[in-house]
Symmetry: C2
Subunit: 221 residues, 2 copies
DNA sequence: ATGGAAACATACAACCCTGTATGGATCGGA
DNA sequence: TCCGATCCATACAGGGTTGTATGTTTCCAT
């Protein structure tokens, strides 16, 4: 199934597509949460009236389910894929870090918004929970592949994934230099082993180009 | 400053106090988030009209700031206190676990609700961020006290605290037996050391009485 | 060019939530 | 007893959001 294929951000296109609405809704979801996904607000930001929306969608719920589908298509199985083809433990962990840093393959803000949404909807919560279990299981089986005992692999997978989740939840954004100084400690804590110095510097150089600029957060009381 | 001192859940009391409103608002905040803290809803659940609310509070914002004050008075400095008086590393970590298990000293659902609230309010976010930094710093200085190097202590503090945050965020609730089987792995991952078997069983016996029953979550689309 | 569907505008009804203004009931103290 | 403060009910205004019903325009195909 196709993802968003917005032709351009040019406001000159007189006709809106269904995906234009979804794209605007995703922005609103990420920026201000589900309750900010309002037809009135979106129509204003798109420069049309609400009549347009009700031509493309049946109602607001149809838009929300479309948003969830976008999330599934975008943020699923990314980590599992990165882990299966890594030859060594060190490479796998670093590949995992790379996925979390490269926000083109994995969108943490969308992930966070959906997880936030899940706290208010039982259906969404069940879906997210399943996805989380899959991710942890993928990391756990990776650890097992390199000799870690079953429960130890599972716990280490949890710790590394949970830490990353909170990292996003608290919206921590540190400069690369600081992250670099933390790398060895993170690696030791997560794996129980020491990282190779050469591999560490190589990794840092590899991700240096993919660091995202600090995003400004919304917020008003 | 006084906390909630609701005299009883007896619906027979004809007069409501300010704390009755705060208590109901806290329940709503924990169950369904900030936007569920509505004067209309609360007044219905309390069996009065909205006129009562506007006698006790100036407006909705006054109630929200009161909620934040409740959180600060309840969930602050709990972990730091537990850590400073622990003689050994092992005791300190286990004491920390105990605090997180004992939901009378530390209310994770309230903590989670406030942190959820913070994602939509800049002011709240700043306050929560400060509190989070304090907690991590407390754990980090604890690790330093037992010989861990500065950044390693900081990262281990982050990992242990972040893991716990996600644990609450994902609302994981496992039976005690399962938790018990994870304890050694958690401890090794967090500290890099092996836990003493005797201390582990003693700890499990100690917290067995303080396990909270699984809470049912709300949620409708 | 013209009929018709696609895409959007307009207008209206219904609901929900906040805030305010004001009236009514209850209770203790002088 | 009666007066005033406390506590709550009633009523209304205002703003915001979702749907729906119905025009109006644009554009393509025949």
């Amino acid at each position: 199934m196709e993802l968003l294929s917005t032709q351009s951000d040019d406001d000159r296109q007189p006709q809106l597509t269904r995906n234009d609405w979804i794209k605007a809704a995703l922005d609103a979801l990420i920026a201000d949460g589900v309750e900010a996904v309002q037809i009135t607000t979106l129509s204003k930001s798109l420069g049309v009236t609400r009549g347009s929306f009700y031509w493309h969608f049946e109602n607001r719920n149809a838009l929300l389910t479309a948003l969830l589908e976008e999330w599934r298509a975008k943020n699923s199985d990314m980590m599992a894929e990165a882990l299966t083809k890594s030859p060594t433990l060190q490479d796998g962990i670093l590949d995992l870090f790379a996925v979390w840093v490269d926000h083109e393959k994995y969108d943490p803000s969308l992930d966070q918004a959906v997880r936030d949404w899940a706290r208010r909807s039982g259906e969404i919560r069940a879906i997210v929970e399943k996805e989380d279990n899959n991710r942890v299981a993928a990391i756990a089986s990776f650890f097992e592949r390199f000799g870690y005992e079953t429960t130890e692999a599972f716990i280490r997978a949890r710790v590394i994934y949970f830490t990353q989740l909170s990292y996003y939840q608290l919206n921590i954004d540190e400069p690369l230099a600081k992250r670099a100084s933390y790398l060895a400690a993170y690696f030791r804590c997560f794996t129980g082993q020491n990282i190779d110095d050469e591999a560490a510097t190589k990794f840092l150089h590899r991700i240096a180009s993919k660091i995202t600029p600090p995003e400004t957060l919304p917020g008003q009381t």
